[in-house]
């Protein structure tokens, strides 16, 4: 497809600008005036509409096709939440309003949404309180690690290290490092969980916190999680729960009951707000009682008369971490989703997410190696190592899936599995969709011996075929130049 710039025809216009009825005086000093007019594409309105309509049709989305992207929980985003988020009472509200004298009374509905979202998330995770401010998952992590730092600093005891397992999401060590900690990486044992002996050896009185996902990236729930939390607490460290995999346990287990002190959630994963290009994200952070005073300001308080107001009176707070109160429309969508599903509906979410993943896992193990093969939670990891011996890689299979209108799973992560494909179907997919995926994966496994060239040439149905990834990484060129 040609770029909009390539469609430009000299002199063609898309709109007519009305004459100005006030006199225009160009007082802009010469040095600020540009020498040449900007090189904008010269196209008609219809050119523009067709161009972007056709571009949008090329987009791959969960509204169009199956999207089993491990670790990302690409569940369907129900449209009623969009309708609610588009209501004028919300969209026309200025976020500064509750900060103005008397303005809070004109924003009660939105303040109540934030307050009630915080209460619901606290109940679901077993935390005392939440902040909705963080704008995405990794931002939530950084906020959480800053709270860990504030806690130790407040106790007059600066610590140096954060422990993460080698199966952790890359953002965990990155957030810890950005917050100024050194990272200790603990390896994965034969059972697919963090090696507990190595953990004991590495744990010391300079460890500030332990960051874990549970279930972890291999989709395995750590049966010794309570023991790990007790060990960490005994040495004075806090337990941090990365909520990326919460979809597996909603309504079944609460991070707070498992011994975690801080959690971040991804509303764009577990609570059905759009994820990725359709974002933005939202990464609320919840804490146990003793840490509430460190949460970012302003907080939303419920007053005795039942009204809601901003509360800045938290002298130990880590301060501001975002403009205003988070990505409000995302928080609103998640709130609507939770209220609509209710308790039984949310329990159904995690049960079906786990059932769907296990159905795929047990069906695919006939064709692929599954290194940690046991009942999984909401996701699992297969290895293309068997096919690799015939020269077919996880990347080849991923590209073949594109030709079959399926978004490839996460590949080459976690790093502890060779030729990894990390598959997460989510609860919103039907058995027919899962069966279709199994059929395509079976075909891929068979093609790897029968006609490997089909896999190596894929994709053939896309606007561009197999990309040269090395060239793309080394000689990045994103700028259009007039030919």
């Amino acid at each position: 497809m040609r770029l909009i710039f390539d469609k430009s025809v000299e002199g063609r216009k898309g709109l007519k600008i009305s004459d100005s009825d006030v006199s225009v005086q160009a007082n802009l000093p010469k040095k600020y005036q540009r020498d040449n007019p900007p090189n904008l594409p010269q196209v008609s309105e219809l050119d523009v509409v067709r161009h972007y309509s056709n571009l949008s049709a090329m987009n791959f989305s969960v509204d169009a096709n199956f999207y089993p992207l491990g670790s990302c929980t690409m569940k369907y985003n129900p449209k009623f939440t969009e309708m609610i988020a588009n209501m004028a009472g919300f969209t026309d509200l200025h976020p500064l309003l509750p900060q103005l004298l008397g303005g809070g009374m004109l924003a009660q509905g939105s303040l109540e949404v934030i307050y009630k979202t915080e209460r619901l998330l606290s109940e679901i995770t077993g935390m005392s309180s939440f902040t909705t401010h963080p704008l995405a998952g990794a931002h939530g992590e950084l906020t959480g690690v800053m709270i860990i730092a504030a806690y130790h600093k407040h106790a007059g005891n600066r610590r140096k290290y954060i422990i993460v397992p080698d199966s952790s999401h890359g953002t965990n060590p990155a957030s810890a490092a950005i917050a100024g900690y050194e990272v200790i990486v603990v390896s994965t044992g034969k059972d697919g969980c963090m090696d507990i002996d190595e953990f004991k050896n590495r744990l010391n009185d300079q460890v500030a916190g332990v960051m874990l996902t549970c279930p972890n990236t291999l989709g395995i729930f750590n049966p010794r999680i309570k023991e790990i939390a007790d060990l960490a607490h005994r040495s004075g460290a806090l337990m941090y729960y990365d909520g990326a995999n919460l979809n597996a346990i909603i309504g079944k287990a609460r991070p707070g009951d498992l011994g975690f002190d801080i959690v971040h959630l991804n509303l764009h994963k577990s609570f059905a707000a759009p994820h990725g290009g359709g974002g933005p994200g939202s990464g609320p952070v919840g804490v146990k009682e003793g840490l509430v005073k460190f949460l970012p300001i302003p907080r939303i308080a419920k007053r005795n008369d039942g009204t809601f107001a901003l509360d800045y009176n938290y002298p130990d707070s880590i301060g501001y971490i975002a403009s205003f109160y988070g990505n409000f429309s995302v928080i609103l969508k998640a709130y609507a989703y939770m209220v609509y599903l209710g308790k039984s509906g949310l329990i159904d979410v995690s049960e079906k997410a786990v059932l769907n993943a296990n159905y795929l896992r047990s069906s695919l193990k006939k064709y692929f190696d599954i290194p940690y093969d046991r009942i999984c939670m909401h996701e699992f990891v297969i290895s293309v190592s068997k096919q690799k011996q015939k020269g077919i890689s996880a990347l080849d299979i991923a590209k073949y899936l594109i030709d079959n209108k399926i978004h490839p799973p996460t590949v080459y992560f976690p790093l502890i599995v060779k030729e990894a494909m990390m598959i997460e179907p989510a609860e919103t997919e039907s058995k027919e969709t899962l069966d279709d995926f199994i059929r395509v994966m079976k075909d891929a496994a068979e093609l790897s011996s029968k006609s490997p060239e089909i896999l190596r040439c894929a994709p053939v149905s896309t606007p561009v075929g197999r990309l040269d990834e090395v060239k793309a990484a080394k000689d990045l060129n994103l700028r259009w130049h007039k030919r």
Binding site: Y412, L415, I416, V470
Partner: protein, 129 residues
Amino acid sequence: MDIAEGLLYTKEHEWVKIEGSCARIGITSYAQELLGDITFIELPKISSELEQFKPFSSVESVKAASDIYAPLSGKVVEINNLLESQPELLNKSCYFKGWIAVIEVKNEQEKSALMDAESYKNYTKELKH
């Protein structure tokens, strides 16, 4: 699996070649194969001090970014600048043209914590996943 004789190895898949009082460092064929096509390397600075088994450099490939750990402690005296424009040498010639740095060895005794070619070969065989 391509393992060069006469070198010493780490569990994190770095090799080291003792050259008098100095040591030449690189990554093994096992590492480059696992990483896939390498697109970038962050080289250490001349005169920087490396500490055994601590990260001193990192590589990026089309699949992942990964730390490189120092097999021995010591001061960097030479770096392979060629890798900046041709990181693919780490894939094509990991034991020769793709060397990363030369250090002045600080403590000879640290060598005892490294593997010889034979033990490294056995070690990689055991790494199933």
